[in-house]
């Protein structure tokens, strides 16, 4: 399968708390960032954590978010960023 997003794409990180294990921290949910890099395809940790086979593999993306977009009190004059790895099923076009 081909990756749904490419570097430079604007993406919104989905909001959700599915039962069991997931690796998308609450503080980035609902936030918009940019795809920096496609990290590759990996076994899905949400399945692996509960004895599953992790299939189908999921594309993993390095997503960057402006710190000032992430936190209301962050000084907007700074160029600081957060980089975080997010699996494809947690992303939607923004």
């Amino acid at each position: 399968m081909a990756a749904k997003f490419k570097p430079g794409d604007r993406v919104r990180i989905r909001v959700g708390s599915p039962p069991g294990h997931f690796r998308t921290p609450a503080y980035v949910q609902g936030k918009v960032g940019s795809v920096e890099r496609i990290q590759g395809e990996f076994l899905n940790p949400e399945s692996l954590a509960h004895g599953g086979d992790g299939l189908p593999r999921r594309f993993l993306y390095l997503v960057s978010l402006g710190q000032a977009d992430l936190w209301a009190k962050y000084p907007a004059s700074l160029q600081d960023k957060l980089f975080i790895d997010i699996y494809e099923h947690w992303l939607e076009p923004a």
Binding site: G40, Q67, L78
Partner: protein, 220 residues
């Protein structure tokens, strides 16, 4: 409390705690079952612990020092850190994907795992307790400059701070900047300046000791 205002007994007997925690009990029970069923041997467990304990930040330091003195190696390290580590005899195969992040005059990288304690163990050994603390994990993403200041690192506003939250299969290693005044130093000497904290990104590499002045140059 001053540590010298109470009597010490240097020969106090070393006592085992008599209570195991729930997780320790669980670990021992699972290990005993796996050994009993012949899935793993006690010697394999021992060897694994020995391997984990043998990993120290000296491994990462060797990689960084080589990258400082050898631009071609640095290029290979940034392109494929696991292969570059293997060139120096460091086995990082237990890591899914290793990523090297280069600090520059304009970008400062710092690594955290907000969800647990993901860490490039083959190169840095076991993470320090503060790296696993809720305090560091929750605060470094919200206020990285404030947390770095607590570590003694003040960054100019013009420097872009990049926090890497390692939530998945990647493990991040920071390549700190080579300190000024180290042109005369050998790769081995340089490796001494590359600390664990500088490879997490909460500090710069250690500054070199001032060079002793030649006797003749000292005015009497």
């Amino acid at each position: 409390m001053d540590e010298h205002d109470h009597p010490h007994d240097a020969h106090a007997p070393i006592q085992e705690r008599d209570q195991l925690t729930e997780y320790e009990k669980l670990t021992w029970a699972i290990q005993a079952l796996l050994v009993e069923k012949g899935i793993i041997t006690a010697d394999e467990v021992r060897r694994q612990i020995e391997d984990v304990d043998s990993r120290t930040p000296a491994q990462g330091a060797k990689v960084v020092a080589k990258a400082w003195v050898d631009p071609a190696y640095k290029t290979r390290l940034l392109a494929d850190p696991k292969a570059a580590a293997a060139e120096l005899g460091i086995d990082a195969s237990s890591v899914n994907i290793l990523v090297a992040l280069e600090n520059t005059d304009t970008v400062h990288n710092v690594v955290v795992c907000t969800l647990c304690s993901c860490y490039p163990r083959p190169l840095l050994g076991l993470p320090p307790d503060w790296y696993k603390s809720l305090n560091y994990r929750s605060r470094v993403v919200v206020d990285p400059r404030g947390v770095l200041r607590e570590f003694g690192l003040e960054l100019e506003p013009g420097i872009e701070v990049r926090v890497y939250d390692s939530t998945a299969d990647m493990r991040y290693l920071v390549i700190p900047q080579r300190p000024l005044g180290t042109e005369h130093m050998s790769e081995e000497e340089l490796a001494e300046l590359v600390t664990r904290d500088s490879m997490i990104g909460v500090a710069k590499a250690r500054a070199p000791e001032p060079r002793p002045l030649a006797q003749a140059a000292v005015p009497h």
